[in-house]
């Protein structure tokens, strides 16, 4: 079929004007399905016609509308309502649907915003709580360790197998005071400081045990520890414990002039 000739025959205008016989209409409707060009052409004709007639409109009096809708209301309203989902009443439906979706969209965006804020706040609170919890756990562990330590100290200081040797200050350091806990049978030696001054970085204190008049190295230490410090084992027979100041790392034999504290083992 020559679509252009068909269009220019004016049959589509006549169709839009409703001036065709049933047979001619059927023919046009068949062609409409088949040819997009014809569809497009008809749509343009219809639109021009609609716009033109909109321009030529005469508004009916308000009473006409009221009357009409009263009549429609009168016509089995229930069944009519059911028949709504069709092409044209769809418009009213879509209006309603659009209004409804706008409302829903507004409400849900408000709710979303609200919940987002709450969620954000909750998240902040949660991370604060987690951090707090971590701090508490650390503190708890520290306290626990400290408690364990103290428990250990007590098991040493309260243990009658350990002899306490109080070492008092020499003329070099009159106020100094430290103690040694020594278990003769297991040879364990622990040191606790009551009062000893801080040393220069290159020096360290060194603990000595005097066995049969000879000094024996019992290990080096710094003054900045709390509690008990485990020293080298000392064989039975020590009569005195003393502390000297030596270069960092200690020496094989004590520098007696630097002796800070000393104390004798109480026999028995």
């Amino acid at each position: 079929m020559n679509v252009e000739a068909y269009i220019s025959s004016g049959v589509l205008e006549a169709y839009a004007l409703g001036e065709l016989s049933d047979q001619e209409r059927a023919e046009v409707e068949k062609n409409l399905k088949q040819y997009p060009e014809i569809r497009k052409e008809l749509a343009q004709i219809e639109e021009a016609q609609e716009k033109f007639l909109m321009n030529a409109a005469i508004q009916p009096r308000a009473a006409v509308k009221a009357n009409l809708f009263a009549k429609i209301e009168g016509q089995k309203p229930a069944t009519r309502v059911v028949k709504l989902p069709t092409e044209s009443t769809g418009i009213a439906f879509w209006k309603f649907a659009a209004a409804a979706s706008v409302t829903i969209a507004l409400i849900s965006s408000y709710l979303a915003y609200d919940y987002w804020n709450k969620w954000k706040k909750t998240e902040n609170n949660l991370s604060e709580l987690i951090a707090q919890n971590q701090r508490l756990a650390e503190d708890y562990n520290k306290v626990n360790q400290r408690l364990d330590q103290i428990g250990n100290y007590l098991s040493i200081t309260d243990n009658p197998a350990f002899k306490r040797v109080v070492m008092t200050g020499t003329p070099n350091a009159p106020g100094a005071l430290a103690s040694v806990y020594w278990n003769e049978s297991t040879k364990e030696v622990y040191l606790s400081i009551q009062d000893m001054k801080q040393l220069a970085q290159e020096n360290q204190y060194q603990l000595w045990a005097i066995i049969n008049g000879k000094p024996v190295d019992a290990g080096v230490f710094d003054s900045n520890f709390a509690g008990l410090l485990k020293m080298k084992d000392i064989e039975a027979g020590a009569s005195t414990f003393a502390v000297t100041i030596e270069p960092r790392g200690g020496k094989e034999s004590p520098t007696l002039e630097t002796m800070q504290v000393a104390g004798n083992v109480v026999k028995g």
């Binding site: 021009a48 716009k51 009519r80 092409e87 044209s88």
Partner: protein, 160 residues
């Protein structure tokens, strides 16, 4: 339905009133048209044309049927339409004057022979066959002029 009425009642009454010159009768027909639309809306098929075209055809047929009924005679068609249609400024009618003026100017742009067809068809309510018959024009000529006029209107009304 209310949307349809608010949107299209004016345009349809414009068509009906130009076929039926009596105000009350035209409005009565308009009511009947909307009742029909209401009744048959399920039978509207979008693939066969725009909703307005469908409603327009119902309105035209309804109006023409009315003129053929007993209380109407053909000579009414040549009677004075101005009485009613030009009464649009009167109380009860809400017609936008601006658009009415636009309509006249729109028609002025068309060549005489095309304006004649549009005027008689859309504003005076003739069918193409009636125009051909009454003014001694071959139906083919009426159709061609109508087509050219519609093309022109498409340009003027900026139909894409």
């Amino acid at each position: 339905m209310e949307y349809l009425y608010d949107h299209y009642a004016g345009a349809l009454l414009g068509v009906i009133a130009r076929i039926i010159k009596k105000e009350e009768v035209a409005e009565e027909v308009l009511q009947d048209v909307f009742l029909k639309v209401w009744d048959r809306i399920e039978s509207y098929d979008a693939s066969k044309g725009k909703l307005f075209t469908w409603m327009l055809n119902i309105a035209r047929n309804q109006a023409i049927d009315k003129t053929r009924s007993k209380e109407f005679s053909k000579d009414k068609k040549t009677g004075d339409i101005d009485n009613f249609v030009n009464r649009i400024d009167n109380e009860g009618y809400v017609e936008q004057k601006v658009e009415a003026i636009g309509l006249q100017e729109l028609l002025k742009v068309l060549p005489e022979d095309q304006r004649f067809i549009i005027d008689h068809h859309y504003l005076k309510g003739y069918t193409q066959a009636e125009i051909s018959e009454e003014f001694n024009l071959p139906l083919g000529t009426v159709k061609t002029r109508m087509r050219l006029a519609m093309k022109e209107l498409r340009n003027l009304l900026k139909v894409e």
